[in-house]
C-alpha cells in the first residue's frame, strides 16, 4: 500500500467516514439504522462500505478489540533495515499474524510495526521469530503510560 493521493469521495462517502468510525448499532438491522441516520437506503450504505473497503479508503469495518483488556499485549517495535534488503525484510515481518500494522519511516530505524498478541509471552516469541527470520535486532518500545488514544480523524477530501 503506497502513500496514495487522496481518494475521490463524494459527500455521502465523507459522511459515512466521519460518522461511522464508532457507534455502529448492535441491533437486528444495524445497517438500516445507520443508513437512516445518514439519509441513505440500507442497500446503498452496504454497497458504499463495500466499495470503500475495496478501494482501501477503509482498511476495516467492524469491532476494534483492545487486546490488553483480554490479557494480551500490544508493543511498538522497530528495525534498522539495510535499503537493499528492505522488501525482503518487510515481507518477512508482515508474514507474522502478530504484526497488526507496519510503517516505513524516515530514520535509521526505518521500519516501525506493532505486535499484538493474545498473551504477554507472545511478544518475546514474535520478536525472536523476526530476529531469526531477518538476522536483524528488534528494538521494542513497550508503552509505560498511555496519555491519549483517539484514532478517529475526519475526512479532508
Amino acid at each position: 500500500m503506497r502513500e496514495r493521493p487522496a481518494a475521490e469521495l463524494d459527500a455521502v462517502d465523507r459522511r459515512i467516514i466521519d460518522t461511522l468510525q464508532g457507534g455502529f448499532p448492535i441491533s437486528e438491522h444495524p445497517y438500516a439504522e445507520a443508513a437512516a441516520g445518514l439519509g441513505v437506503a440500507e442497500g446503498e450504505l452496504i454497497a458504499r462500505l463495500q466499495r470503500l473497503l475495496e478501494a482501501k479508503v477503509l482498511t476495516r469495518f467492524g469491532p476494534m478489540v483492545h487486546i490488553e483488556r483480554l490479557g494480551g499485549a500490544f508493543v511498538l517495535a522497530a528495525l534498522a533495515v539495510p535499503e537493499a534488503r528492505y522488501e525482503e525484510v518487510a515481507a518477512a515481518v508482515n508474514a507474522l499474524p502478530e504484526v497488526a500494522h507496519n510503517y516505513r519511516r524516515e530514520h535509521a530505524l526505518n521500519m516501525w510495526f506493532v505486535l499484538a498478541t493474545e498473551t504477554p509471552e507472545g511478544i518475546p516469541a514474535a520478536i525472536a521469530k523476526i530476529e531469526a527470520d531477518t538476522g536483524l535486532p528488534v528494538h521494542a518500545f513497550p508503552k509505560e503510560a498511555e496519555y491519549f488514544v483517539e484514532m478517529m480523524l475526519e475526512s479532508r477530501v
Binding site: 500500500m1 503506497r2 502513500e3 496514495r4 487522496a6 481518494a7 469521495l9 467516514i17 461511522l20 468510525q21 464508532g22 455502529f24 448492535i26 441491533s27 437486528e28 444495524p30 438500516a32 440500507e42 452496504i46 470503500l52 482501501k56 479508503v57 477503509l58 482498511t59 469495518f61 467492524g62 469491532p63 478489540v65 483492545h66 487486546i67 490488553e68 483488556r69 483480554l70 490479557g71 494480551g72 502478530e98 497488526a100 500494522h101 507496519n102 510503517y103 519511516r105 524516515e106 530514520h107 530505524l109 516501525w112 528494538h139 518500545f141 513497550p142 508503552k143 509505560e144 503510560a145 496519555y147 491519549f148 488514544v149 483517539e150 484514532m151 480523524l153 475526512s155 479532508r156 477530501v157
Partner: protein, 160 residues
C-alpha cells in the same frame, strides 16, 4: 488487565469479526450462524464487551492517507522523567495528537521517551504542530525528532 469473564464464546465472536463485520443486512445473525451462538447472545456479548472496553468501538477504520491526512509524523521527545507524566497528558490533550505514550529510551541511540502521533495534510502542517508540542514542553525537553511515514507496509489490525 485480564478479564476472567472473557470466555470461549467471546473469543469466537472476536475471531468471527476481526476481518470485519459481515456486509449483509443482518450481520449479527451471520455471526450467530458462524459461531453456533444465538443472535441474542451474540448481541448481548458484543454489548458487554463494548461496556467493558474489550471492544473499543464498532465502526469504520479509514486509511488516513486516502481521506486526506497524507502527512503522518511520529514525533518523539526526550522529556525529563520527573515531568513527563504531567506534560504527557497535556500533549495528549492537544487537538492534533491522535496517540500519546511514554515508552522506554534505548540509549545511546534512542534518547526519546515521549511519543506523540501527529497527522496533517502536509509535512509543513505536521511540523507546525510539532512546534506547538515543543512550546508546551519548554525546558523539560532535551531533544526531539519527527519520523514521517512514507509507506503503509501492513495495516490488517489485530488477529488472534
Amino acid at each position: 488487565m485480564s478479564t476472567s469473564s472473557f470466555d470461549a464464546a467471546d473469543r469466537a465472536i472476536i475471531v468471527a469479526t476481526q476481518g470485519g463485520l459481515p456486509l449483509v443486512p443482518r450481520p449479527y445473525h451471520a455471526i450467530a450462524e458462524q459461531t453456533g451462538l444465538s443472535v441474542e447472545e451474540v448481541m448481548a456479548r458484543l454489548r458487554a464487551m463494548l461496556a467493558a472496553g474489550v471492544i473499543r468501538r464498532i465502526g469504520a477504520v479509514p486509511n488516513h492517507y486516502a481521506i486526506g491526512w497524507t502527512a503522518n509524523g511520529m514525533t518523539v521527545w526526550d522529556v525529563a522523567d520527573e515531568r513527563i507524566d504531567a506534560l504527557g497528558s497535556q500533549v495528549g490533550a492537544l487537538e492534533c495528537v491522535t496517540h500519546c505514550y511514554r515508552r522506554p529510551r534505548a540509549l545511546p541511540t534512542w534518547p526519546y521517551n515521549l511519543f506523540a502521533m501527529v497527522h496533517g495534510s502536509s509535512r509543513e502542517e505536521v511540523l507546525a504542530k510539532a512546534e506547538d508540542i515543543r512550546t508546551l514542553l519548554g525546558d523539560a525537553c532535551r531533544g526531539s525528532d519527527v519520523l514521517f511515514s512514507t509507506r503503509i507496509l501492513k495495516k490488517s489490525g489485530l488477529r488472534i
